[in-house]
Assembly symmetry: C2
Homo-oligomer: 352 residues x 2
């Protein structure tokens, strides 16, 4: 099996800790390792670093190489510019040696958490066996734990309709569902027939490229042009149609299968999401670094540098970096983008 | 007239900005100047720096000298240890040249704010004339603006009992009142017959020393011993009885007079008190430094270094220094000492 880790993201949800030059996948939010490095180490028992490719941006490539010294440098690929996931995945697979492309490739985000890595690896190996045997595209969908409106969903075919040659819990995907309304999200959760789309896919590399040729001929021609003239990468890459892999390929396929993943997955999409997985002290405060809370509970106190001291406050996020402090209610963690937008409007590139 | 500025204080109410090596009088809370330097410049039109003495501690003496370069260095006196205000004032006056001691001396705290310095100087000059003419001890009491329980009060003799040779608003002090209950504080405010004790006194230096000899003979003998053997200052100063000037002298005197002071006085006793005098922006936020507030109002945001960004919070104090962050509700500003005590208990001298 080969892995392709997508590490080109540039989110702002962990501002002021995350910056353009240090996006979420390069942050050590929970322990001492970055999320990217966690992703690599989690794979190691089933996919060693010599079988890992990483797709990132030119701006981040050096940091990625430093963070993953055991991955062969030629397998750390830099997109000249971000064109969404379809070009990133297809170009990365096309860049692999032909022998590797014939194997099963697992596409994985670089910035997710798996609370139970062994369960994750088990699902990954079982899915890989299905891909090998049936040459199907597989996805690992996460068993939903609440009625989330911020994720896409996979709707499954009813079990009884599936003449299933695979392991018992392999299910066929009926369709990809965009972020739902609250009402639909509740319905999805109750039905037991939906999984969260976590952006994890498995396929034979050569099969993926065949599917690209079939469903996205313009993208396919672009990739062949790049392969024929690597010196023109920057020019040609910028012309690839910018679409997500879901939209460009996956939603067009019949017969995608999925294995439900129940392994403490989190996309760590906000400071509040981080708060939920960090251990709390006796006052219900979570955090990192040098912190002091007096008559204060239920706060996330994250001191990347220096000391945070709070008195008499509840339910806050307080983050301290070398140059900035953020204070907001936990429940408004999603809105940190408003601060980032305001800083951008004020020309404060030094803080972004 | 001579001035004696008491600059030995070591408060923790402005932690994390105030530290042992940089107490409140050495902070620039409102503008670019320290409160100590503000005190000196406020006096300048009536008492030039050559007529100013400063009593501070050995630990702060160098910082005080740097802050007040125009004050003759020999007039910046360092107590070997803090023994409260009676020894500090009496020793400082005893240390003045005899000619200076014969003049009116105004004793002033180094860390108060006067919103209207001209009104303050006017009251000071009028009080000095009473001292010169009648050789009385005078105090400037602040016209109370709310029922404060954190200050001492001066109860005044009723006006009709006072055969008054002085300017019309000079009043005799009946007694010094310790910090009152809430009920009494309200009564004091309504009666119009009480002033806040702001620790500002005027007297002839020689008269003060006579009163010390009369009411505090042990202190008086100690001062003479020091004058006779300056080399034994450290040893002898430590034996002086440690009392406040109010308790040791002022409360024992008949005939102390006062002039009411109505000049935007604040003792800046807490972050909340600072918030009250800083100008607010359109969202009701006050502060200093590089700050950003989105959908957040009524906060004090004080960035001594770096940036503070807040979202969706109200009524908070957020302070950022080079090494620490403080977050607490404004209304609990008095309790910052709890954090300081906890840091001390944890051996965090680096933050104190």
């Amino acid at each position: 099996m080969r892995a392709l880790i997508l590490a080109g993201g540039s989110g702002t949800r962990f501002w002021p800790l995350s910056r353009k030059s240090r996006p979420k996948q390069l942050l050590a939010l929970e322990g001492e390792r970055t999320l990217l490095r966690d992703t690599l180490e989690r794979l190691a028992p089933v996919i060693g670093p010599e079988a890992v490719w990483v797709c990132t941006t030119e701006a981040l490539a050096e940091a990625v190489r430093r963070d993953l010294p055991e991955v062969p440098p030629e397998q750390i690929l830099s997109e000249p510019e971000g064109r969404n996931t379809a070009p990133a995945i297809a170009w990365s697979v096309r860049s692999m040696p032909e022998a590797a492309r014939r194997e099963v490739v697992a596409v994985l985000p670089a910035d997710h958490r798996m609370g139970d890595p062994a369960a994750f690896r088990d699902a990954l190996e079982r899915a890989a066996r299905v891909v090998e045997r049936e040459d199907r595209v597989m996805t690992l969908g996460v068993v939903p734990r609440w009625a989330e409106t911020g994720y896409g969903y996979l709707e499954l075919e009813p079990v009884e309709l599936e003449p299933d040659p695979s392991p018992r819990d392999v299910r066929r995907v009926r369709r990809f569902v965009e972020k739902p309304s609250e009402e639909n999200a509740r319905r999805f959760l109750e039905s037991g027939n939906y999984l969260w789309n976590a952006g994890i896919f498995l396929f034979r590399g050569s099969t993926l490229l065949d599917l690209v040729a079939l469903h996205q001929p313009e993208l396919s021609r672009g990739l062949e042009a790049i392969a024929a003239a690597p010196g023109r990468l920057r020019e040609l890459y910028g012309r690839l149609p910018a679409d997500s892999i879901d939209y460009a390929i996956m939603e067009k396929l019949d017969g995608i299968a999925t294995l439900p993943l129940d392994c403490g997955w989190s996309d760590l999409g906000s400071w509040e999401a981080l708060d939920e997985i960090l251990p709390a002290d006796s006052q219900g405060n979570t955090g990192r670094g040098d912190t002091l809370a007096v008559e204060a509970g239920g706060n996330l106190l994250f001191a990347d540098q220096g000391t945070i001291a709070v008195l008499g406050v509840e339910g806050l996020v307080v983050v301290r970096t070398g140059d900035a402090v953020l204070v907001m209610p936990k429940a408004r963690s999603q809105e940190v983008r408003k601060l980032v937008a305001e800083l951008a409007a004020r020309g404060r590139g030094d803080l972004l």
